[in-house]
């Protein structure tokens, strides 16, 4: 039998703990110290992050292994309940460690130039440090309680960074929105934690996994038996709770990773500085959700996985559609992120744990590259602004023909775009391919309506290729539209390529978006990174509820591998070519682009307003809630308060009556008593003259009387 | 214009003149206090003379606590001055008396401390005994008493039969040189003499507490003031300068001390004693007058500073040293 104490028992001391503490310490140091510095903040925090990156690299190389290294210890004990901490350094964690630190470092370096003129630079760097610190917590800890703590910290730091320019109303609103949407998701997460704790009396993931493997479904009930402090404990829950736990945990990921229906915060989060967007979209915030899903992957039963897959597919398609018609370059990228996250979640849902994580890693590089490239464009355009000339630097309508002005940025952007579109030779192809194959296998297995999911996944491929090429065309080809719009003709000549600090991170990220960085050009299976994160074999969930084994699925789909690749490449190419044709210089849409205002066509509006989701929330849900509140208020005011008031009136009348009784009869007695004692007091008081001599006089008079009494 | 040969009778004539004068009491004065005040001052000062040993055999009253009595009775003087100042109902008089009292009370402390030094060395409050100890007749009081040079027995130089200046208190314990200095300064202040004469300060207060007095009452006040001078001069001579003892020591067969002082109780002794004591006292009075002519008046704060910050601590130190010195003497 399992003894809970043994599962939570600290393991022998491992010097690794120092390295882990160091990993936490440097970003935290950056958080606490940069606030004190001024212009040196960027150099200092970049230096700290650089050290951290080196440490994470060292750890990754040292502890690279199949099973992962685990580190446990007791945090504190309350009565017999042990709260422990535990770290797990498996390959996924190690890769995330490197990616988080590395991209954070690049963002730090990039920001040194991007935020050069911002007065609140120390605060910015402090928040970046906090962000990195929180994300590292999620990556390293293997205890759901700690993951939840750092999860909230990630939420806090994203709130702080999105609302970094809080003077802007829209920025603070966006920060609030992100925070609130995350709270809704976190509620789910917390519920999941509670369910798990009720069942297992611990939140240590290792222990939970082990006990999950031992738990059974008997008569539709989820039964767990183990020893806690030597006493046998049998927890029985209805079997549906198991699915509920999985879905609840997924809710957390929905909020953090911007899945349908909570994804609306992410596009608004573009109000933050662009490097922050890069960080959020690539390595920290949104990755947290997917990574958490991978952590609890073995706890998810078939039901939960189905929900996850459906939500992922819907998200991917919706966001891809929304990205089609945006004017704001960052919005395009934001929707693209949502869409790609949908892919990852879809992968998790169909049981392709490895493919999902792989896509998380590849996406981290090319999306960071895209954002930082966009950041260069925005930054350089910002440099053109002056007293007289103001324009929206993120609006693609003012761009166009930037290829000549920003050649290196162009190259990087195109590489990352192609990676996103999923062309062979780029990293995106590898991971996306793996997801598509798995989805196909899953659909075949499930059959029926589940082919719709596969259809959505493939539709997203063509849309992705289209919208990203649309962005490339609109931004880099044709003529520069800004001079015409502003009426200042020589403005184009001032536009320069970004300097080295801006370019180096982008170039590095572009290079890492090429597929050879991952050791394979065509087949994800052969990529070293893909191999490193093998899907856990055999589910932990009680067999009745477990999903179909991954291996069999893939085998069945193996035959379709080649044509699936062909189809996806074809779709991507189709999307690219369509975009090239539609938006090539001189084409109708490209020429008229700068004069476009809000779209009129209903289909385009659906895309532009992101399926009216925001409107739906404000108009329907909020309105419903408000109406309901008003009704409740009316009910409360008129009926409940009416009753209460009536009662109160009656009370008052009675009170008056009793008051009169009290005043005249009872008080009369009291006053009589008081009057009597007052009179007596006055009488006795008159003896207390406050005059010492009188006291002496009376004392001696008494003495004389006493003496007389004794003498005679 | 003087009375008598070289004006010798001038004082007597002045006295007679003042006695004849009208007794003027200011209308607004408090008669009950104004009138007896000079009498009280006069009595207080002259009661002090009662215990002075004028010669080896002649003392007004030879009580044991003579020195103590003298200090006590002289302090009555303060009450008289207070009565005079208050009773005059004049602001100058009141100011004068206030100043005089503040000064007298302040200086009484260093005075008493310096006197205490002598008491500690002499082990007696009896003035006659103190004087006997300072001369060759020490054996008359205590047959076994012995004097040593500087009072230090360890030196082994016996001065019992040498006498003269060597057995005076300022020689028996040389620290008494400072004690005598303190005594002298304090005594000047006690009798309101220059440079401590701010109570009288003619330039500001016209004449101090006795400004309203005239006639024989004024004479009594002045008489007691000069009487006080003489009293402290006598006291200084008795305590520090050997009293009625001859200043000349016996040097071997040239027994100057024996020659210049007679056997106590005999006529010769009386004469020599009176001669030496009055001589020393008048010399001190002379020094007092000399100081008056030489030094300007002190300000009130300087006056208080001198007493409280310098003379009193010095007096306390001297008392301690005297105690130590007494250890050396036995």
């Amino acid at each position: 039998m399992i003894e809970l104490k043994d599962l939570l028992a600290p393991n022998a001391f491992d010097p690794l703990i120092y390295w882990i503490l160091a990993l936490f310490a440097f970003p935290l140091l950056s958080f606490f110290t940069t606030g004190l510095l001024k212009d040196k903040a960027s150099v200092w925090s970049s230096l700290l992050l650089g050290i951290n990156t080196c440490i994470s690299g060292y750890i990754a190389v040292t502890y690279w292994g199949e099973m992962g290294t685990s580190l446990k210890g007791t945090w504190f004990e309350i009565g017999g309940t042990v709260f422990n901490y535990s770290f797990l350094l498996d390959n996924a964690a190690l890769i995330m460690l490197v990616i988080v630190n590395f991209i954070s470092l690049l963002v730090h370096i990039f920001s040194a130039e991007y935020m050069r003129h911002d007065k609140a630079k120390p605060r910015y760097y402090a928040f970046l440090g906090l962000f990195t610190f929180s994300m590292l917590g999620i990556v390293l800890f293997h205890n759901l309680l700690f993951i939840f703590i750092f999860w909230e910290l990630v939420g806090l730091s994203s709130y702080l960074l999105i609302g970094f320019w809080f003077e802007k109303k829209s920025a603070s609103l966006a920060a609030n929105k992100a925070f609130i949407m995350n709270r809704i998701g976190d509620l789910g997460f917390l519920t999941g934690l509670m369910i798990l704790y009720t069942q297992f009396e611990t939140l240590d993931l290792g222990a939970i996994e082990f006990m999950m493997g031992e738990s059974q479904i008997e008569d539709g009930n989820w039964v767990v038996t183990y020893f806690s402090n030597g006493k046998e404990v049998i927890h029985v829950l209805d079997g549906r709770w198991l699915s509920a736990a999985g879905i609840a945990l997924f809710c957390g990921a929905v909020g953090k990773s911007a899945q349908f229906p909570l994804q609306i915060w992410l596009p608004d989060a573009m109000e933050g500085p662009t490097p922050v967007s890069a960080l959020i979209h690539a390595a920290t915030m949104v990755a947290a959700g997917v990574f958490m899903l991978s952590r609890v992957f073995v706890l998810l039963d078939a039901q939960a996985l189905e929900v996850i897959a459906i939500v992922g597919a819907i998200t991917a398609l919706m966001a891809a559609v929304a990205a089609l018609s945006q004017f704001d370059i960052k919005k395009v990228l934001a929707y693209s992120t949502v869409s790609q996250l949908g892919y990852m979640v879809l992968a998790m849902g169909v049981g392709a744990y490895d493919a999902g994580l792989f896509h998380l890693f590849t996406h981290a590089f090319f999306k960071a590259g895209l954002f930082l490239s966009a950041g260069i464009i925005i930054h350089q355009l910002h440099g053109l602004e002056s007293e007289g000339v103001k324009f929206n630097t993120q609006d693609m309508r003012v761009m166009g023909g930037l290829k000549q002005h920003l050649p290196i940025t162009f190259a990087c952007f195109v590489i990352c775009s192609l990676s996103l579109a999923g062309l062979p030779g780029f990293s995106g192809f590898l991971s996306k391919e793996a997801i598509l194959i798995n989805t196909h296998a899953w659909s075949v297995e499930k059959g029926g309506g589940y082919y719709l999911i596969e259809l959505m996944a493939f539709a997203t491929v063509i849309l992705t290729a289209f919208y990203i090429m649309r962005a490339v065309m609109l931004v880099f080809t044709g003529k520069f539209r800004l001079p015409e719009l502003t009426g200042v003709s020589d403005i184009a000549g001032k536009l320069k390529e970004g300097n080295r600090t801006l370019l180096i991170p982008v170039v590095i990220l572009a290079l890492l978006s090429l597929s050879f960085a991952f050791g394979s050009t065509f087949d994800a299976e052969t990529s070293w990174l893909h191999k490193a994160v093998e899907t856990p074999s055999g589910a932990m969930v009680p067999t009745k509820y477990a999903a179909v084994g991954q291996a069999e699925m893939l085998e069945s789909a193996g035959a379709d591998h080649i044509w699936l690749a062909v189809v996806s490449i074809g779709l991507a190419l189709a999307g690219i070519i369509a975009a090239l044709l539609i938006y090539k210089p001189g084409a109708k849409l490209a020429e008229a682009f700068d004069s476009k205002r809000e779209p009129v066509s209903p289909l385009v509006q659906v895309s532009f307003y992101h399926w009216y989701q925001d409107v739906l929330y404000t108009k329907v849900i909020l309105k419903f809630i408000l109406t309901q509140s008003k009704m409740l208020a009316w009910f409360d005011e008129k009926i409940l308060d009416g009753c209460v008031n009536l009662l109160a009136r009656t009370q008052v009348v009675v009170a008056h009556l009793t008051g009169m009784f009290d005043r005249y009869i009872i008080d009369g007695f009291v006053h009589l008593t008081a009057f009597t004692s007052g009179k007596v007091g006055q009488l006795t008081r008159s003896i207390q003259t406050g005059n010492v001599q009188t006291y002496i006089l009376s004392a001696i008079a008494m003495l004389i009387m006493l003496l007389l009494w004794f003498a005679f | 214009m003087e009375v008598g040969y070289y004006g010798l009778l001038q004082t007597v004539a002045d006295l007679l003149k003042l006695l004849q004068k009208e007794d003027i009491v200011p209308l607004s004065a408090d008669r009950k206090m104004f009138k007896p005040a000079p009498v009280l001052i006069f009595v207080a000062v002259f009661a002090g003379f009662a215990v002075l040993p004028l010669t080896s055999g002649f003392t007004g009253s030879g009580i044991d606590a003579g020195l103590f009595y003298l200090l006590a009775i002289v302090s009555l003087d303060v009450m008289g001055i207070l009565m005079a100042g208050w009773g005059s109902n004049s602001k100058y008089a009141l100011f004068g008396s206030m100043r005089a009292i503040a000064q007298i009370i302040s200086y009484e402390i260093p005075l008493t401390l310096s006197v205490l030094c002598v008491v500690m060395i002499s082990q007696s409050l009896n003035l006659q005994e103190i004087v006997y100890q300072q001369g060759i007749w020490i054996g008359k009081i205590d047959a076994e008493a012995v004097n040593y040079l500087f009072g230090i027995k360890a030196l082994g130089i016996e001065t019992t039969n040498i006498g003269g200046i060597l057995t005076w208190n300022i020689f028996r314990a040389p620290i008494f040189l400072f004690a005598w200095l303190i005594f002298f300064i304090a005594s000047l202040a006690e009798c309101n003499r220059a440079p401590f004469d701010i109570p009288e300060a003619e330039s500001e207060l016209v004449g101090g507490f006795h400004v309203e007095y005239s006639g024989f009452r004024w004479a009594m006040v002045m008489l007691s003031e000069y009487g006080m001078m003489l009293l402290v001069a006598f006291l200084g001579a008795i305590l520090f300068l050997g009293g009625w003892n001859s200043p000349l020591p016996n040097i071997g067969s040239v027994a100057l001390a024996d020659w210049t002082s007679g056997e106590p109780g005999t006529m010769v002794g009386h004469l020599w004693g009176a001669f030496w004591l009055i001589g020393k006292a008048l010399l001190t009075v002379g020094v007092q007058m000399w100081v008056r002519w030489t030094y300007p008046r002190l300000r009130i704060d300087q006056l208080m500073n001198l007493s409280w910050k310098y003379l009193t601590p010095a007096g306390i130190l001297l008392v301690l040293l005297s105690a130590l010195w007494r250890m050396l003497m036995i």
Binding site: T684, G690, N691, Q693, I700 | -
Partner: protein
């Protein structure tokens, strides 16, 4: 010279002092009364000391009483002066903050 006379003198002096203490409004006048009472006690001490075989006990205590009286007078007068500064009067009748 019988000792009673002196003791009676002490008693009379004490009672006079008490009378002064009881009847005078001025704080200093009261203090004078207290001094009278202390003197009365001293007279008793010294009178009995005169007949005392040990001779000096009474005198020693009389000396102590005198010293205590001096201390008492100094403190009392300081207090009276302070009270006067505060209440602008030394009239005991008016200083009756404790009046019930």
């Amino acid at each position: 010279m019988p000792v009673e006379h002196l003791v009676i003198l002490g008693a009379i002096l004490f009672c006079i002092g008490l009378f002064v203490v009881l009847t005078r409004k001025n704080a200093i006048a009261v203090l004078i009364g207290v001094e009278l009472m202390l003197n009365a006690s001293n007279i008793n001490l010294v009178a009995f000391s005169h007949f005392d075989p040990d001779l000096l006990q009474g005198q020693v205590f009389a000396l102590f009483v005198i010293t205590v009286a001096a201390a008492e007078a100094a403190v009392a007068l300081a207090i009276v002066v302070k009270v006067y500064q505060y209440f602008q009067t030394a009239d005991l009748d008016k200083i009756s903050e404790l009046k019930g």
